[in-house]
Symmetry: C2
Subunit: 277 residues, 2 copies
């Protein structure tokens, strides 16, 4: 991509967008437009800034704009858009939010949620399949909640859920156990000791001076640390884990993982360098 | 523009769009994106298909999408969007429709109408300033109505308005006279004889076998024929006029003329090859 070449956009170009607030930091336009370029697809992907208070009006507008074929949903709209779509697929219903919406040929808007599965795919890409393992998950807000269900779906044997909001942690643990009885999900402390994989799904680490969501000094040798924050990537937690000899990955793996599922759902052929998809 | 280069669109890219139905035939995306490319502007222009029945929801959505900086409005939304904008500038109020909407720094959406002025600019580009002249205008629907006011504003001495809808013709003639008393606007037959400029502002000529909106055999030598239809361009009427030795121009002049005004209104620097703007 070079900055002095205009897009070959016509009135017939198929449109895809990411919606959220703030929208300036999102990476999806660059990612998807590169896929369109690579495959010679007459489509374009852009970001629309819609504030939480405008969720209903923004969604109605997206529905009215009939040549918008697909929508990626990011903060703060993931939960707000769930009751607005015409059909909620099972994972989105379990998690309670949507991150991808597709317009069917008959005009219906169908929503699904790929953040959790994307994070699991990212772990697998790095050789850390959670199947049969014991996993610590700290933070079960939007992305963390999605990860809880996806980790259970992927065969995690034991899932320790830690959250400053104890009621939320208990709620997610209970719903994970109900949906995936083979996974022993329980509330526990944010202590990585004894876990094969330890995940930070809180925003801690994005701001300088943030405390870490768990103590890297308590990591067992070989425990995989997955810090889902994007910026900085690697995060202080990931760097501390590596300093102790533990493998660690950042938010990019989760982003790219969900993008694989989202693109499939939207019918966009994609490749990610170095990743089997 | 080449089809294998993706746009360098990020979440921070400024958005412009054209809205209407059908949207596939519009030329504005190619036109404006070429301007952005030429000037290295981090902006993108695309078309959003919004049906007439969805005008209110579509408009509310455009309002909610805060990084959409400007909107070009085409059929069938020009009249429907007029009562929805926060401020209607005088020409749009006179004409009764908007074709360009700008988002101010405070979020207000301000609408104006440049179709008429654009057509007059197109005439001037081709050496046919209507000032002091006698002009026949056939068809005073959306674009024709806008032209009626712009021709009067530009100093047309006598304006003959012909329309199959006699009440509409009389209404426009009366409102033109009220707004521009120096212009003698009156309803008359679709007869070009005695006019310096004869304009087709009906859709006649777009479909094979359409009758012509006036008889080219009745053109005086030297009468300028302006057929605002875009496709075909030149139209059968324009070709018939040229066959009689009369100058004739098509819809491109009107499109490019209004684009000059619309781009200025939207703060987009533009150039049009061979045109003084």
């Amino acid at each position: 991509m070079t900055s002095d070449i205009a897009p070959p956009i016509s009135g017939a170009t198929r449109l895809y967008c990411i919606v959220g607030d703030p929208i300036a930091p999102v990476r999806s336009p660059a990612f998807y437009n590169e896929q369109f370029r690579r495959t010679g697809t007459d489509a374009v992907f852009f970001g629309l800034e819609i504030a939480a208070k405008d969720a209903a009006a923004g969604f109605a507008g997206l529905r009215a704009m009939r040549n918008i074929a697909g929508i990626v949903v990011t903060m703060p709209l993931k939960k707000l858009f769930l009751p607005l779509v015409d059909e909620v697929l099972p994972t989105a219903r379990l998690v309670g939010s949507v991150n991808t919406i597709r317009r069917e040929a008959d005009g219906r808007l169908v929503g699904d949620m790929f953040d959790g599965r994307g994070g699991v795919l990212g772990l697998k890409w790095h050789g850390h399949d959670p199947r049969g393992r014991k996993v610590l998950l700290v933070g079960v807000g939007g992305a963390g909640g999605a990860l809880a269900f996806a980790l259970a779906e992927a065969g995690t044997a034991e899932l320790t859920i830690a959250d400053l909001d104890a009621a939320r942690a208990a709620d997610v643990a209970g719903r994970v156990c109900a949906a995936f009885p083979a996974c022993a999900a329980r509330v526990g402390p944010a202590d990585p000791r004894g876990h094969a994989i330890a995940i930070n799904a809180t925003p801690l680490g994005m701001k300088p001076g943030d405390p870490m969501s768990f103590d890297p000094a308590r990591l067992d040798p070989g425990t995989m640390v997955f810090d889902i924050i994007n910026n900085p990537d690697p995060s202080p937690l990931a760097l501390a884990a590596r300093a102790r000899g533990c493998p660690a990955i950042g938010g990019r793996a989760m982003y790219e993982g969900q993008a694989v599922y989202a693109a499939r759902f939207l019918g966009i052929p994609i490749t990610i360098e170095g990743r089997a998809i």
